[in-house]
């Protein structure tokens, strides 16, 4: 499964979720879905905007975790 480490990156950048949402123009609800792992998928466009804002790579946000 894919684990989203948005909360880790936000903590590293000392940034709040609502500030990130405002910066990239996505609702807090949607970002919250992504942060809590409830989202079924993420668009490249959204991923690129988050990476740009947090100055990171997609690999810093998404981590593959084996289910075994």
């Amino acid at each position: 499964m894919i684990r989203v480490e948005l909360d880790v990156m936000l903590a590293r950048r000392k940034m709040k979720l609502k500030d990130l949402a405002a910066e990239i123009g996505i609702s807090v609800t949607n970002l919250s879905l992504l942060k809590t792992g409830k989202a079924k998928g993420v668009r490249f466009e959204t991923l690129a905007a988050i990476c740009k804002c947090l100055d990171c790579q997609p690999g810093d946000l998404l981590v593959f975790q084996s289910e075994d």
Partner: protein, 177 residues
Amino acid sequence: MNRQTVLKITVILLRFLQLLCLMGLGLLIYDVIAFSIDPSHNFVRWEWYMNETLTIAQGDEEYPLQSKLSYYFNWLQITLQLWLMLLIWQNLIRVVGSVASFKTFIKDNAASFFKIRNLVFFLWILDTFHLFQELGAAIQMTWGFNLEILLFALAAHVLALIFKEGKRLADEQNLIV
């Protein structure tokens, strides 16, 4: 013709059919009251089961009088059928209305089509059996198998499944950020 115009025309057409059903029900209520007061009343041609048309009698001698059992059976059968048709049009209007307002894949639409399927199936069951008894004569019974109605029920079932799948996909789409 654009999408909205087509949907608007559909709604108008369905409302017209609904109005026809209501008028039919009104006529039947009038008829049952008149028949209860005077059993020789002969307003609606009740041999509709023979040629599947419901017409107004031209004169007293044109159509045979029927027994009370036959009258009330036919009255109940056709009243129920009209009522079911009214409910079918009502559900279709609801679905078309939601499609017109760009809320195509909502939970209610699949439920509406499942309801339509059940209503049409019940309509089909009601249509399989007809009874007529001329006054003083033996009861005539006919059985029929109307494939068109059954196909309509099947179409409603397939549409319900499509709308259910559409709702699932729409929900999934909402979880993509």
